[in-house]
Symmetry: C2
Subunit: 238 residues, 2 copies
DNA sequence: ATGTTACATGTTGTCGACAATCATGTTGCA
DNA sequence: TGCAACATGATTGTCGACAACATGTAACAT
């Protein structure tokens, strides 16, 4: 009967999921300004859905720390202080160093496998650097680090790290990051990979700490990016 | 005028918050069985609220990994496998060791302050041990570790650790934990505090790893707790 | 007896509406 | 002119209703 036409897996995604994804995108790309209040009705109308899924998406994004909720007040896009940036990078150090140690503990094969993934992430980073899109570079950078954490094999730490990644990108989107040159950035990540291959936990730990501390100070030293251009496209309705 | 009756700070908590708190309590105490399906209407009726706040609470608890959601299916209470337990304790090691290192980095004053908090947590643990309530002991144990993480000063890691704590308690509530004797447990935590006072990062790191690895194997070796008694009090409506 | 179809029931996903709360601007009065 | 009280409008919190979906049961055909 149905021998020939083998159909696709066919995947549905809930409305809440899509709202969530879209809002997350708008936040991490900086399209929605920090501190920006999000009107439920307005967001719902512009996305063409009702308020229920929007509210549920808000709930999720609040626990993801991208939105801030206060009773009887509109949720607002989270604003990041210097202290936040410090915390984010500190937490990233905690998770990355742990992942690296676990990978080394797991033996040479695990290190090799990780190295391959990191190399491929590096290639992507180089591509994006040549491309020139600031945010795409930031995402490729983060993808590199995320690959390391994933190789650590702890899904809970991966989840925690994803939240930190989203926060990091959000910060970068709103601060004119005093980025090192592309070559410097690449070299810095190469050192990272090399350190992993020494199989020395303390070595890789100090390299990670140094790498992230540097990135943190680069970010903290940045100035707020003016962007009257892409003014919040999802709220003005007043 | 209003000199005499000075009123309270007066705090309101949203319905969603209360639903969330109540469900969390039922889950971590094991009143709700792992795998148990939660009917929205039934839960709403029994809590005396409508489905909206219940659904929003579900959203939060899903991101807290206490509930599991599937499209067009009832959310279910998360079930934990041995792999989960392994992950949870591994993640706890990552966060606790990092916190300890940061506390030591912060200097002698920070270590002293931390020690005081840990001592007070130990006193509470002793009290609960004498009391004899298994779950209360587990909570006191977790409170000790949580105090350490809080002293680390990174609110994001504290938040991540709270999720892990809740998962840990849930596991303990459902497994007949082969607990060491009260004295052993106390001594183990005392060693923990002593290690911190050496101000040696590697020392405290290995003690934490050993402590949590031991706790993990105790938990993993446990047998599922039969509890026909306190059968799920919030769902039967059929 | 077995497998399939159609139906019946219950549950989730989504929506619009109402009540409670908050923000704002205006009026009244000292 | 300044402050307080009020009126007004908008926004959130909560609710009940309906549609879409999934599951279990009965009828039917092979």
């Amino acid at each position: 009967m149905d021998a020939e036409l083998r159909l696709s897996p066919l995947e549905f995604t809930s409305t809440t999921d899509r709202v969530c994804t879209e809002l997350r995108r708008l936040i991490v790309t900086g399209t929605l300004a920090p501190g920006q209040a999000l009107n439920e009705k307005s967001v719902a109308q512009q996305l063409g859905v009702s308020r229920s899924p929007v509210r549920e998406a808000f709930q999720r994004l609040v626990t993801e720390r991208l939105l801030l909720a206060e009773r009887n007040k509109s949720v607002t896009v989270k604003e990041f202080t210097d202290a936040d940036i410090q915390e984010i990078y500190d937490a990233r150090i905690a998770i990355e160093t742990h992942a690296a140690r676990r990978i080394i503990d797991a033996g040479a094969a695990a290190v090799t496998r990780t190295t391959e993934r990191l190399e491929s992430a590096l290639t992507e980073l180089r591509t994006q650097l040549d491309e020139g899109d600031r945010l795409a570079v930031a995402r490729a950078d983060l993808a590199f680090h995320q690959a390391l954490v994933e190789c650590g094999g702890n899904s809970r730490l991966v989840a925690a790290y994803e939240l930190l990644s989203a926060e990091t990108v959000t910060c970068m989107a709103w601060l004119e990051n005093v980025k090192p040159s592309g070559d410097e950035l690449m070299q810095d990540h190469r050192d990272f990979v090399d350190a992993l291959q020494t199989h020395d936990p303390d070595q890789i730990t100090s390299v990670i700490s140094a790498h992230l501390s540097l990135a943190e100070s680069n970010l903290a030293a940045s100035t707020p990016a003016e962007r009257a251009s892409r003014q919040s496209a999802v709220v003005p309705q007043r």
